[in-house]
C-alpha cells in the first residue's frame, strides 16, 4: 500500500458513515413502503378523476360547499381545542413542576392516551348521553327541563378531543416548563420581578418555541379527528370534518380518486397551519433555556 492519507473507510467515517449507519436502512424501507409510496400514489391518483380531466377532483372540491366547507368545520374544532389545551396545560404544568408526586400524576394523565379516542367517546356517550349521569343530575337539580345535548354535536367532539389531547399537550408542556433552569426565576425575583413579571419576562419568552412545537403536534392530533367526529359528533352536519368527506368518497361513493384529492387537501391545510406556527417560531429566541455554560 502506498501512503495516500486516510482510507476510504476512514473518510466515510469522518462524514458519519460507517457500519452502524446501515441500521437505518430497515427504517428507511419502512418509511418508503408505508409513507412515501402511498403518499405519491395518492397524489398521482388524485389527478386521475372519473371525468377524465387532470384537475377535476380539486375543481369539484372547491366548487361544492358540501365538500370545501369541511375544511372550515375541521379547523373550527381542532384549532380552539388545541389552544384551550395549551391554555390549560401551561398553568397546570407550572403548578405540577413544584409538586413532589409528579410521577403519580403523570401516570394518571397518561391513561387517557392509552385508552384511545373510541373508548373515551363511548364513555362520553354513557356519561353525557340523555340517560347518562350528567344529564340526569342536571335534570334532577332542575337546572334544565330536558337532557342537555352535549353528545352528537360540536361540543361532544370538542370535549372528546380535549380529553384525549390534553395529556399529550400537558406532558410536552411540562417537559418544557421543567427544562427551564429554576435559578433564572430566582434571579429574576432577587432583581425585583414579581410572579407576573417573572412569567412575562422569563418563562414566556423561553417557553414560546416549545409551546409552538406543542401546538403543532397537538393540532395535528386534533385535526385528524375521525372516530370522535362520528361517535360523539354530528357527522352529517356540524362535525362533518374533512376526514369524513374523504371516508365517504372512498367507501360510500367508491371514488378513490376524489378521496385521494381530499386527503391531499387535508394534508395541505395541515401543513399551512404548522408552517405558519413554525415560521412564527423563528421570530423568537430559540437557544438553550438553562443558564448559559459555566
Amino acid at each position: 500500500m502506498t501512503d495516500r492519507g486516510p482510507t476510504l473507510t476512514q473518510r466515510l467515517r469522518a462524514r458519519g458513515l460507517d457500519g452502524v449507519t446501515l441500521l437505518v436502512l430497515p427504517c428507511v424501507l419502512a418509511i418508503i413502503a408505508l409513507f412515501i409510496y402511498p403518499f405519491l400514489y395518492g397524489l398521482w391518483l388524485s389527478f386521475q378523476p372519473k371525468d377524465g380531466t387532470t384537475m377535476g377532483n380539486y375543481d369539484r372540491f372547491f366548487r361544492e360547499p358540501f365538500l370545501y366547507k369541511t375544511i372550515w368545520t375541521t379547523l373550527k374544532i381542532s384549532i380552539p381545542v388545541t389552544i384551550l389545551n395549551l391554555l390549560l396545560a401551561v398553568p397546570i404544568a407550572f403548578r405540577v413542576r413544584l409538586m413532589k408526586h409528579q410521577r403519580l400524576l403523570t401516570t394518571i394523565l397518561v391513561l387517557p392516551i392509552t385508552l384511545g379516542t373510541v373508548l373515551v367517546a363511548e364513555g362520553m356517550l354513557f356519561y353525557f348521553g340523555p340517560q347518562g349521569w350528567f344529564s340526569r343530575t342536571v335534570m334532577a337539580l332542575g337546572l334544565m327541563d330536558h337532557a342537555p345535548s352535549i353528545t352528537h354535536g360540536y361540543w361532544g367532539v370538542f370535549l372528546s378531543l380535549l380529553i384525549t389531547g390534553f395529556p399529550f399537550t400537558f406532558l410536552l408542556t411540562l417537559s418544557y416548563v421543567t427544562g427551564i433552569e429554576p435559578a433564572l426565576e430566582q434571579a429574576a425575583a432577587t432583581l425585583g420581578a414579581g410572579p407576573a413579571a417573572r412569567f412575562r419576562e422569563i418563562f414566556l419568552p423561553l417557553l414560546l418555541p416549545g409551546l409552538a412545537i406543542t401546538f403543532c403536534l397537538s393540532f395535528v392530533q386534533a385535526y385528524s379527528v375521525l372516530p370522535s367526529a362520528i361517535l360523539v359528533g354530528d357527522p352529517a352536519n356540524t362535525t362533518r370534518v374533512i376526514s369524513i368527506a374523504a371516508y365517504q368518497a372512498a367507501f360510500e361513493d367508491y371514488d378513490y380518486s376524489l378521496a385521494s384529492a381530499i386527503a391531499m387537501i387535508m394534508g395541505a391545510v395541515q401543513l399551512v397551519v404548522v408552517a405558519a406556527i413554525l415560521g412564527a417560531r423563528t421570530l423568537v429566541y430559540r437557544g438553550p433555556v438553562a443558564a448559559a455554560k459555566g
Binding site: Q186, A188, G192, P288, A291, A292
Partner: protein, 357 residues
C-alpha cells in the same frame, strides 16, 4: 419601594433555623453584619452556608428565628421586595436577553425611566470592563465574562446588600484569581455590604473583612482572616484553614503558654494549647509549610514517600511508623525511602483536645 432600597446600619440574623424535613440545615444562626462589611461564609459542602444565603435572599423561608434589617423584619417579606443583589453560582443569566437587557432587568422592574436605565447600565458595564460585549447574548460569552455580567446585574440596582454564592467556583484557576481581584476592586469602589459564600479558605482569607466558619448548620468561629489563620478555635476549623497535618498524642507537660505532647514512643511536640486543652489525649495541628526536617532527637521519625520540587523549596510526603501521612516542607531535597525526623516551631503548632490516639 423595596425595603433594601433604603440604607441600613446592621443586618442581624437572630437564631435563624432552616429544616428540610428532619434534616436541620441551619441550627440557630446568630450573626450581625455592619454596613460596608465584606463577610465570607466559609465551610465544607453541606455546612449550610448556601442555605443561610438563600434565607437572607428570601429564596428559602426560615423555619425559626428572624432576620432583621435595622428595625425591619425581612424574613417575612418576599424576595422581590427585599431588593438585595445576588450573584448565583451558575450566574443564572437570562439566556434570551442581551448583556445590556440582563443588566438593565432590575432597573426595569423598578420602573426606572428608560434614559436612566441606559445611562446606569452603560456605567456599570464599564465598571466590570465589558464594553463592546453589551449586545451579545450570554451564550456568546466566556465564563469570566458571564460572571462579570452576573456581578453587573446584581450591583446596578445599587443594593444595600450583595449576596454571592460561590461565584468563582466555575472558573479556571487563573481566571478565578483575576476575578477575585475584580470583586475586591468593585466592593471597595462601591462600598456595598457583601456576603460571600465559599468553600475555598484562600478565597475567604483574601477577600473578606470577617470570616464566618460554618459546620453542620452552626457557626464554629467568627473572626478576621488573620485571627482565623493564626488561631483557629476548634480542631475542625484548623483542619479547614489548611492545617493538614493532624498528629495525635498525649499531654505530658503543661507550662502556661506551652504544652508538650508525646507522639508515639520517642517523639514529642511542643505547641500552643487551644480550645481549652488541659490534659489527656490531644491532637497537634501543623501546616505543611511549618513542618520541616529537624536534627532534634524529639522529632517525629518518618519515611519519605514522595518529594516534589516547588520552585524555591521542596514539598514532601512522609509516613510515620503509626502509618500516619505527614506533609512537610524542606529547603533541601531528601531521598525517597530515607527516614528523617520532622519538627516545627512551637509557636506554629496548635494542640487541641482530641480522642485517644
Amino acid at each position: 419601594m423595596t425595603v433594601g432600597s433604603t440604607k441600613f446600619e446592621t443586618l442581624r440574623l437572630e437564631g435563624v433555623k432552616r429544616d428540610f424535613g428532619t434534616f436541620n440545615a441551619l441550627r440557630g444562626l446568630d450573626l450581625t453584619i455592619a454596613r460596608g462589611e465584606f463577610v465570607a461564609l466559609l465551610g465544607p459542602s453541606g455546612c449550610g452556608k448556601t442555605t443561610a444565603l438563600n434565607c437572607i435572599a428570601g429564596l428559602l423561608d426560615v423555619t425559626g428565628g428572624r432576620i432583621m434589617l435595622d428595625d425591619t423584619r425581612i424574613d417575612t417579606i418576599r424576595t422581590e421586595e427585599r431588593g438585595f443583589g445576588m450573584v448565583f453560582q451558575n450566574y443564572a443569566l437570562f439566556p434570551h436577553m442581551t448583556v445590556r437587557r440582563n443588566v438593565g432587568f432590575g432597573l426595569k422592574m423598578r420602573g426606572v425611566p428608560r434614559a436612566e436605565i441606559d445611562r446606569r447600565v452603560e456605567q456599570v458595564i464599564a465598571t466590570v470592563r465589558l464594553q463592546g460585549q453589551a449586545d451579545k447574548l450570554p451564550g456568546q460569552l466566556s465564563g469570566g465574562q458571564q460572571q462579570r455580567v452576573a456581578i453587573a446585574r446584581a450591583i446596578v440596582i445599587e443594593p444595600p446588600l450583595v449576596l454571592m454564592d460561590e461565584p468563582l467556583s466555575n472558573l479556571d484557576a487563573k481566571l478565578r484569581l483575576e476575578m477575585r481581584g475584580e470583586i475586591r476592586r468593585i466592593h471597595q469602589s462601591l462600598g456595598s455590604t457583601t456576603i460571600y459564600v465559599t468553600h475555598d479558605q484562600e478565597e475567604a482569607l483574601s477577600l473578606a473583612d470577617r470570616i464566618v466558619v460554618l459546620r453542620d448548620g452552626a457557626i464554629r468561629q467568627v473572626g478576621r482572616p488573620d485571627e482565623l489563620y493564626a488561631a483557629p478555635a476548634h480542631l475542625d476549623v484548623a483542619d479547614f484553614m489548611g492545617y493538614r497535618n493532624r498528629i495525635p498524642g498525649r499531654v505530658t507537660a503543661q507550662d502556661g503558654g506551652r504544652v508538650t505532647i508525646s507522639v508515639g514512643e520517642t517523639a514529642a511536640l511542643i505547641g500552643r494549647p487551644c480550645d481549652g486543652l488541659v490534659d489527656g489525649p490531644a491532637i497537634a495541628m501543623i501546616r505543611p509549610d511549618d513542618l520541616e526536617p529537624t536534627d532534634a532527637a524529639i522529632g517525629i521519625p518518618a519515611t519519605v514517600e514522595t518529594i516534589e520540587y516547588r520552585g524555591r523549596e521542596f514539598h514532601g510526603l512522609a509516613r510515620t511508623i503509626a502509618n500516619q501521612e505527614l506533609h512537610f516542607r524542606s529547603s533541601v531535597s531528601v531521598g525517597r525511602g530515607e527516614t528523617i525526623r520532622l519538627g516545627a516551631d512551637p509557636a506554629r503548632v496548635l494542640i487541641y483536645p482530641g480522642a485517644t490516639p
